[in-house]
């Protein structure tokens, strides 16, 4: 499974990468981008299976990246997990309305990440089965 981790803080990208590896995802298939703009370019040029993105980033924020993904026919079905320090109600609602697949508030634990990821895959599998 190819995963794109998007965050302007290199520390956070590495933390998410570490946790994903800990959960059994292949380190070699995880790639990183430092803002939404670069992420979008990478997503257009390579096939990814999932995006884990921060909200607050320069150039293009996580919510704008999410909207851009949903607006692009070739990317719109991509699962997007938001991992962010933004925990106010309006922002969570905005993310939900934009079609986020999961929302994790920092700081989080490996267990939370695992739980949200399995939920995303369960839902995807369910929608895939009915489609």
């Amino acid at each position: 499974m190819k995963i794109l981790v998007v965050d302007d803080f290199s520390t956070m990208r590495r933390i998410v990468r570490n946790l994903l590896v800990e959960l059994g995802f292949s380190n070699g298939l995880i790639q990183e981008a430092d803002d939404g703009e670069n992420a979008l370019t990478m997503l257009r040029n390579n096939a990814f299976d999932m995006v884990v993105t921060d909200w607050n980033m320069p150039n293009m924020t996580g919510i704008d990246l999410l909207r851009a993904i949903r607006a692009e026919p070739s990317l719109k079905g991509l699962p997007v997990l938001m991992v962010t320090a933004e925990n106010n109600r309006d922002q969570i609602i905005a993310a939900a309305q934009a079609g986020v697949n999961g929302y994790i508030v920092k700081p989080f634990t490996a267990a939370t990440l695992q739980e949200k990821l399995s939920k995303i895959f369960e839902r995807l599998a369910a929608s895939g089965a009915t489609a």
């Binding site: 803080f9 520390t11 946790l19 920092k106 634990t109 490996a110």
Partner: protein, 213 residues
């Protein structure tokens, strides 16, 4: 502040007005009233003019201070210090993550070897007991390392706050410089003096003229 305003609020009514109030000459009364109102207006305008000049002088002095003492420089320093903190904390967090990435394979290998020994020995054997202890130690290490990784997210959370303060300092700095350049006091990056003063006075006068002075 040297503006002195008295709007005759507490003063007694001028005798000529008092006389006019009691006279039957309506035209003379209106004329006198107009003159009185105009005089009041002029006092207010003069007071506002003095206020505007004081404000202008204060901003010009600030401009001079900024240019002489390099306050914008120290503001930039403050921003730089915070950016350094951000960078140092990032490096520290990465070093901690290096440590985790170095230790995790060792914990994995220990768990694997212990498992092999457990399978190859029977209960009661010293090696079996030791292998079991090793296995639980290795598992505890793996859990601890995962927590250790998550704990490094302090750098991201504190770093985001530092970035906000850095941006705030930048906007304060810009506002300050805008205020100063508005008066022209920092025209050539020098303290307000000589020709700069003339320019700023001209600008001040131009500004004042816009307000009808």
């Amino acid at each position: 502040m040297n503006a002195q305003v008295s709007l005759m609020a507490g003063e007694a009514m001028p005798p000529e007005l008092h006389d006019l109030l009691n006279s039957a000459d309506g035209a003379a009364f209106e004329k006198a009233l107009d003159a009185l109102v105009r005089e009041r207006e002029q006092r207010v305008f003069r007071a506002l003019g003095l206020l505007a000049r004081d404000l202008h002088d204060a901003v010009r002095r600030l401009g001079g201070d900024l240019a002489q003492e390099g306050v914008p420089g120290s503001v930039a320093d403050a921003r730089k210090h915070l950016e350094d903190v951000l960078e140092m904390s990032s490096q520290a967090a990465h070093r901690s993550l290096d440590f985790v990435e170095r230790m995790r394979p060792q914990a994995d290998a220990l768990a694997e070897n212990a498992s092999a020994v457990i399978d190859g020995t029977s209960e009661g054997e010293v090696a079996h007991v030791l292998a079991k202890q090793s296995q639980s130690f290795a598992n505890a290490c793996r859990d601890g390392l995962a927590d250790f990784v998550v704990a490094q997210s302090w750098q991201d959370l504190s770093g985001q706050r530092i970035k906000k303060v850095v941006n705030f300092i930048g906007s304060v700095e810009n506002s300050l410089l805008e205020l100063v350049s508005l008066t022209g006091a920092l025209a050539s990056g020098e303290a307000a003096a000589g020709p700069v003063k003339v320019t700023s006075q001209d600008e001040a006068d131009r500004l004042l003229s816009e307000f009808g002075f």
